[in-house]
Symmetry: D2
Subunit: 338 residues, 4 copies
Amino acid sequence: MIKRRRVTVIGAGFMGSMHASIFANMVGCELAAIVDPNLDLAGVVAAKAPGCKVYASHEALLAVERDLDLVSICTPDNLHLAPAVAVAQAGINVFVEKPISSKVEDARAIIAACEAAKVKLGVGYLLRFDPRYAAARELMTSGKIGEPIHIYARRNSARTEGPKRYGGKLPLALHVTVHDVDMVLWMLDGQHPVSVYAQQTDRLLGAAGTQDSLAAIVRFSGGTVVNFESAWSLPSGARHMIDARMELIGTEGAFEVQCGDSGLYYAGSDNSREIDTQHWPTVNGRIDGDLARQLNGLLAWLDGAAMPIATGRDALRSLELTLAMMQSAESGEIVRLG
Amino acid sequence: MIKRRRVTVIGAGFMGSMHASIFANMVGCELAAIVDPNLDLAGVVAAKAPGCKVYASHEALLAVERDLDLVSICTPDNLHLAPAVAVAQAGINVFVEKPISSKVEDARAIIAACEAAKVKLGVGYLLRFDPRYAAARELMTSGKIGEPIHIYARRNSARTEGPKRYGGKLPLALHVTVHDVDMVLWMLDGQHPVSVYAQQTDRLLGAAGTQDSLAAIVRFSGGTVVNFESAWSLPSGARHMIDARMELIGTEGAFEVQCGDSGLYYAGSDNSREIDTQHWPTVNGRIDGDLARQLNGLLAWLDGAAMPIATGRDALRSLELTLAMMQSAESGEIVRLG
Amino acid sequence: MIKRRRVTVIGAGFMGSMHASIFANMVGCELAAIVDPNLDLAGVVAAKAPGCKVYASHEALLAVERDLDLVSICTPDNLHLAPAVAVAQAGINVFVEKPISSKVEDARAIIAACEAAKVKLGVGYLLRFDPRYAAARELMTSGKIGEPIHIYARRNSARTEGPKRYGGKLPLALHVTVHDVDMVLWMLDGQHPVSVYAQQTDRLLGAAGTQDSLAAIVRFSGGTVVNFESAWSLPSGARHMIDARMELIGTEGAFEVQCGDSGLYYAGSDNSREIDTQHWPTVNGRIDGDLARQLNGLLAWLDGAAMPIATGRDALRSLELTLAMMQSAESGEIVRLG
Amino acid sequence: MIKRRRVTVIGAGFMGSMHASIFANMVGCELAAIVDPNLDLAGVVAAKAPGCKVYASHEALLAVERDLDLVSICTPDNLHLAPAVAVAQAGINVFVEKPISSKVEDARAIIAACEAAKVKLGVGYLLRFDPRYAAARELMTSGKIGEPIHIYARRNSARTEGPKRYGGKLPLALHVTVHDVDMVLWMLDGQHPVSVYAQQTDRLLGAAGTQDSLAAIVRFSGGTVVNFESAWSLPSGARHMIDARMELIGTEGAFEVQCGDSGLYYAGSDNSREIDTQHWPTVNGRIDGDLARQLNGLLAWLDGAAMPIATGRDALRSLELTLAMMQSAESGEIVRLG
């Protein structure tokens, strides 16, 4: 007999709804409650699990529910601080969608609250659970790559997707590039960034409060040079959902992670698309892929299993490097770090 | 509180070992025993789960263990019949790796035993749990494809892999093509094959007791024409593990499943390879991908969830069509079916 | 000092216009005349070359122009016979677009007329001048492939292209598959086909007087099995102009020719496309690629250079095999050849 | 009747030999002489054309041959100056392989000599004659791309190729990146670079006197940001000859040039390779592709045709920008340009 983990999701939007759906189907897990100021929306999401309750705020939640193993925070990125700290102070483990925050001081406050309360803090860098990136990292730790020399990391998507959802709220770099920053820091275990240079454009999307593209070059302490490229300004007719790649040249071998061509291509009468088969595909009626694998791994990690859930300190490192890119792109100057 | 399902795996070889590893890590599952005439090998596999016992035969297993929810049979394909029937007669649910058998009469006997004992019978067609094929089928049921007109299904791999493991034991078609046969029958729900023509070659691998390649054309009752191509004679330097594709043209749209380029390419000093990221990749230390997804789905299916586990009757249909291909390839004549 | 070859093109349509444009820009060549019953159209094409004349028929041409080195016949496929015979009888070398004809007796008559008149006869199988196919054949003659075991040859395109231009005039196989038939016969030098089986569909394009798709399996005298697949029924939104492939497995090595992804992908606001870079791309204002390379090779061949221009007898062989496929597809029976 | 152009090639190495072979087969062209201090090597190359003479130096050539239309200079890059100036002063048109020189002052001297002598000066940037890049530029001039926002330009190859031939003689940037610099300047007609930042690595190839990789970000006067990436440190087992790409996002559309997958893939028993089908493939016994197309275009350009042969001033611009990248990579500082 095993006890079910009781989990709550705060935020009933795009990501929160997916979290809820995954927890609702997970063996050994009980989706206890959904929190959202829009109680109707919360109710729709809660309907996925029998007995799941709804609350309008994290205060309302914590006033009633104390026997929780985990709260997953999927609010807009600038609204992570208050629920994360409150949940930690209630002695409950915290999971926050990426980035941990858009401000270093908020990230530090969340980390401090979790450490003080002795609860675990995970951050939603789901690519660590993508079979392509995870096996690439395994190539590195196995010695097949040797010492890393050069990395190219790209993440490009259509102007009709991200900018519509996030324009004006969070910059391109903090939404998009930060994924690759986390991956690079994960791959380059033991190195730290020493200099950062970036350029960006905003010709197309400046009016929508965001950037078209960002290119950055980061030099690391061990001599590895990393070239980041991000854009959410591809034309709307492009066939890729996310044209993401990571290519690493090492002294002994090289790898290429390629996520644009997904293995499933659809053509209709008007256009054609690659269909997601890794990030959060629905497989036979259930949300699966990296996101589900991460949330399964998260529960195992709470139980003590070795899982590469990004910690608060990992997330702080990726936030700091991403902010340095933004600072360089805005000033046109090199930013030198530690 | 939830009760753990008790599972046993018969066969401690390549597939049995992977099944055992997946069940051992599955929440809500207890790997109760491993059965193999080689008890040392069984012991190595059993070591993955605390308390897991070993038995030298299914008779020995069933003499002791009666409180089992599932037995997964991963013996060589010609040794499915006896354990499957015995497990069914013991009132325990049966899962058999594909193909259900190499003989129609054995397949029918297994099905009959399970029906008589009122236990469930699943067969290991893991591609039904591959996000690419599963989402392709979803395109069909959603109406985005319209009526299917033409399908091309390929499955090619290197001469150094399959033929070494299986040459002389089971023909190319029953090992390899049968995967695509099951997929096509799954996609063409409601149609049945009416004529089959095939040609094969054995110039390279005839001496090893198997075929180099097989090409087949099958016409279905609804007018859809399907072109199958299988080979396990690619040169050993080829970069693909399995160059598998399924491409379907419909009246409204088309899809292409492409499994050869896996999203992770490795180059070393001698050659380069695509690395498996979907069938059974190890992700962060655990076997994941289609196989794990299928075995998770299997337990849910035992509990009553709607899951596309291939049934005994599904497996009988794919066996019959595959045998018709072999008959045509050997005789050089068209085989006409029902 | 070198003498210019005087060339005439019969037919001012899609292909004739490209031939004319290429000859007009070719060093050492004079485009002497264009022949088309539509004199206005002929005039537009003739304007590409200073001094180029126009005629309404091949009879009118031959009544005036006798000092010609070559006449290229780009009329509709069912109108090759009369001009080809007349040009040959006038003692002028003949080039005919593929297929040489849709009837074996017409093909034989053209060949006989050219042999009787001792003029050269070439047929427009431009893929022999495609760097991908030409280098693939070089792999075979170099011994890197060993003996050929199995070939897969595909040629798929959108329902909005070919069927609109050619539907009702010439079947799919004679327009499309015949390209791959010529390539396979070229690759399998010394072998001849012994059995042919094919199936076709016409659900979508039957009303337009053509087929959607064709699949064929041909066994050759040396034991090589070839699997042909052709379709011009891909959805109009598909990104490929022509998704053509030829994959050959040999005893020593294998090759894959892949023509769908062209090396230039364009995405706009509505959809995305691969852009032709090999068949007849315009490069810096001039028609280039396989077609131009073939016509340059043609003039060198007239001068005695060794060039793989398809001869009349080559074209007769590919016609006969293609007609056998059509016969099998229509009858549902195996066609056995010599 | 047309007069033949008389052409001489200086340098009988890898590139000079290919130039000679192409000129020897070109209609309307006479390969008059080969110049190389190694007269035996010159003789081997001269044997490709009947009557072709050999000389040990450009001084010896010019002492005898005055009736030349063109001299193509394929000497090592640091030995362009003397022959180029002497040929120009003899009143003969000059073609120089890229880069025009490794020094700005030499480039200026060559340009001045040609302008003073009123002869034409072309530089061998063959990608301008590649159908992929040429058609991509046509997309830009046609308006389908709109205003350029962001470009990514890559050129990566194996450590076993370039570094062995060129290590210690010319840096990675001047051999490799300079191709993409010319392409970008050609695409961004009317813009000039305003700031340059680069980083390089030399962990692997430093001992061989060259760099492993270079990443650079250049901002142009019109706001376009360009990200360059070059490496000749891929492992020797990598399947690509040159993994080159250029991807441009514009306000109206985007394009991707992809040169790594060539359309012809070969797998043998040890490894697999993409085979060149565009740069200088041998097609049916003759060197073809970009290089041949460029040299054909060169002769047309001498006759007054509009052809995008890179001029001396074009080559000076690409040299200056490439040198700025090298300066930034060595200093670690931003280089700001006029």
